[in-house]
């Protein structure tokens, strides 16, 4: 090199270095305020609230993902999957993918991740999604592996969306606080200022706009909202309705949760007239837009319309207090102890304004002549009531519940809630049991039909609960960024979907 070009080079470098700070100021760095600091950010906990939004599809990717609108299974790290019979599926992996530590994505790595997820050395909570199933993985070649499910699983493609592929060097005995994955963002640090991620420039997919993302933890909703207002944060993840007072920045979206009030079938709730009356006497419309956001949708069943098995023919219970009172009277004349106090159990900190909601509902039920008393419990006590084995003495009570099914299929709800062997089920109905067992082994239209029929019987003949609403979350998005939350945003918050506004 001649000295002249050397000087030119040095000059160029100096210019670049001088302008670098200015350029840095324009890098796309965003801050997201979230409510709860997670206990860990391990890639085998991608289904856990608080961990999923940081990890899932940002740092650690799963083999498949679901479409937010119709729950269709889409490829992610796996490009092809086929059922080869006997519960075995052959899965083909994507080419040209590396982990953040430089190791390549191959079948061995996936096998290791699957084994880790199921091992008892670490408490991987993603395992609960494949609870009573044993998965064994075997490498066939560098990019192909076989996954065997025992018992055989019709929904294997959905199962693939629960398997977070963590780097092969991830500790098999400790949950990670510095995860290594294949995602568009890699972990930088976790300190008192929050969790820092930076863009993975070796990512196999489309390069996202956001370069640096920091998650900060603020328990108080009003504060998260204020941070976006002052510009200290760009997105306030989940704020309560009363703090969502800025129509320009606040976005409401169905979050996949459905609320209901479960009946414990003790007198007088064991009489179907009372259960009908409770549904008829609840003015669902009154709470929409007042206690709850006006985007909530009154529910007919415990799953959302996008879930396979949803019965679209079911109608929302009308508000008919006269009919309700009539039913109560009938039951009373027939000797049902309608005056007996019924406990309405609420769980603290379930969702915003739940206290007010419960009180409003209780008053509506007082008006139709039933003696309902509210009892608030904190999570540990509430959990004892809702899971089998149930406590021996349970008096007449109704328990507030919220359930989310973002996995595309009714199987993830129906068995646990309605099958006589289900862990949160109050029912013992052979017809429903039969339909559920049948549907779970089927595929295609028959599966859908059977689930729909089960739902119909449950909603009209059994009436095990008072369905409430498909719930809505609110997110505040500041002017620096663009982001539209979708139905999966509460369980999968993809930073790559965030773009910077053009100046």
């Amino acid at each position: 090199m001649s000295s002249k070009s050397g000087i030119l080079q040095a000059f160029a470098i100096t210019i670049m270095a001088a302008t670098a700070p200015a350029a840095y100021a324009q890098t796309a760095s965003i801050k997201i305020a979230v409510p709860v600091e997670p206990a860990n950010i391990d890639g085998c906990n991608t289904t856990v609230n608080g961990i999923n939004l940081i990890v899932k599809e940002n740092i650690v990717e799963t083999l498949t993902v679901l479409d937010p609108n119709d729950s269709k299974v889409l490829p992610r790290l796996a490009t092809k999957w086929e059922d080869t019979g006997n519960g075995v599926w052959r899965v083909t992996l994507r080419d040209g993918v590396t982990f953040h530590d430089g190791k390549p994505l191959n079948a061995d790595a996936v096998v290791k991740a699957v084994e880790r997820m199921q091992s008892t050395g670490v408490t991987c909570l993603d395992r609960t999604k494949i609870a009573n199933v044993k998965l064994t993985a075997k490498s066939i070649d560098d990019k192909t592996l076989e996954l065997k499910a025992d018992p055989a699983q019709v929904l294997m493609p959905v199962f693939l969306s629960f398997i977070g592929v963590v780097g092969p060097d991830t500790s098999p005995t400790q949950l990670s606080r510095a995860p290594v994955g294949t995602g568009p963002y890699q972990f930088v640090s976790w300190n008192a200022d929050g969790v820092q991620l930076k863009r993975n420039d070796g990512y196999w997919g489309k390069k996202p706009e956001v370069e640096n993302a920091t998650f900060v933890f603020r328990g108080e909703s009003a504060l998260r909202a204020a941070m976006v207002k002052t510009g200290e944060a760009d997105i306030a993840y989940s704020i309560s309705p009363q703090d969502a007072d800025d129509p320009k920045m606040d976005k409401a979206f169905l979050n996949g949760e459905t609320t209901r009030i479960r009946f414990i079938m003790q007198p007088p709730l064991d009489d179907i007239r009372i259960r009908q009356a409770l549904n008829l006497g609840f003015d669902r419309g009154a709470l929409v837009g007042t206690v709850f956001s006006d985007e909530v949708v009154p529910a007919t069943q415990f799953i959302l319309p996008k879930i396979n098995g949803y019965n679209p023919d079911l109608k929302v219970w009308p508000y008919d207090p006269k009919q309700a009172m009539k039913l109560v009277q009938e039951a009373k004349t027939a000797g049902v102890p309608v005056d007996r106090p019924i406990r309405l159990i609420g769980r603290t900190n379930f969702f915003p304004n739940q206290g007010e909601a419960l009180q409003a509902i209780q008053q509506m039920w007082q008006q139709i002549g039933l003696n309902v008393k509210i009892e608030m419990m904190e999570s540990a006590e509430w959990l004892k009531l809702v899971n089998k084995p149930y406590p021996a003495e349970r008096s007449a009570m109704m328990i507030q519940e919220m359930h989310d099914n973002n996995n595309g299929d009714a199987a993830f709800t129906m068995y646990f809630r309605y099958h006589s062997k289900g862990q949160q089920s109050e029912m013992n109905n052979p017809q429903v049991d039969g339909l559920i067992d049948k549907a779970m082994a089927e595929t295609g239209a028959q599966r859908t039909k059977d689930f729909q029929e089960a739902n119909r019987i449950i909603a009209t003949d059994v009436i095990p609960a008072v369905p409430m609403y498909h719930m809505v979350s609110q997110m505040r998005v500041g002017p620096r960024v663009n982001y539209m939350p979708n139905a999966l945003s509460t369980v999968q918050f993809e930073l790559s979907d965030i773009t910077m506004t053009k100046k």
Binding site: L125, T230, L383
Partner: protein
Amino acid sequence: MGSYLSKRAVWSGISLFLLVVMVFFMARLTGSPADLYLPIDAPNSMREEFARLHGFDQPVLVQFFTFLRGLVMLDFGESLRQNRPALALVLEAMPTTLLLAFYSIAIALIVAVVTGALAAWRPNSIFDRIATLLSLIGASLPNFWIAIVGVLVFAVGLEWLPTSGTGSVAQWILPVAVLAIRPCGLIVQIARSSMISVLSAAYVKTARAKGAKSRRIIFVHALRNAMLPVITVAGDQAAGIINGAVIVETIFGFPGIGKLMIDSITYRDFAVIQAGVMVTAIAIFMLNVVIDIAYAILDPRIRMN
């Protein structure tokens, strides 16, 4: 002094131990916390596995002896939530809370003592009435409300201060101010009434007879004698903050001991609860020693007994 401290240490050590034992058993009485850590649809096999992993399937007494063994080596076990040593979690959180407590009480004390002393000098004057009114308001307002209003006014409205976080000095201003308001209000009241009673003491008359100016009378003669009840109240308030300025820590995102304890209790994270109780109790013990020393410095009659 040495024997006094060692006697205190022995007695406090015994109380500490009994406290930790009590918390141990009380917490275990709530049963296995597996339900809190596993998703609701986790099968029973997972719950049993969780219980086994963490020793909750053993009889309580066996768990207790395991705990005692670990205690000797200051090993409180691992946090259920984070799989890290519980003591480490607590020791990470403690300095934040201690600093918050220190700054708030220090500021509250200085402001309140001066205000109370000046108010006592001219009781029922305009200054006194305003000071009393403000102190009563300060002592009655709930922390939570002050914090939120503070954020809305100073951070969102005026944009003078940041909303939250721990990094810079500016971020500490609001939380310390919020924490200082209630103690300040209470201490103004105590300082004022203590000063009023001291200012009517006979030795103040002597000082006046000696020709002392009012500043000397207030700050040299009266103040030291009035400080004893003030120190008691300040110490009590400091203990309260150490125990957990939960609300302030939650709102402003300060990873302190209050927030850690509330979360641990909600999640039945036994190891952290125990470690937290122990460390907090030790902090309070030290605080009491400091208060005792302050008493002795202030009043020679106490020193000599």
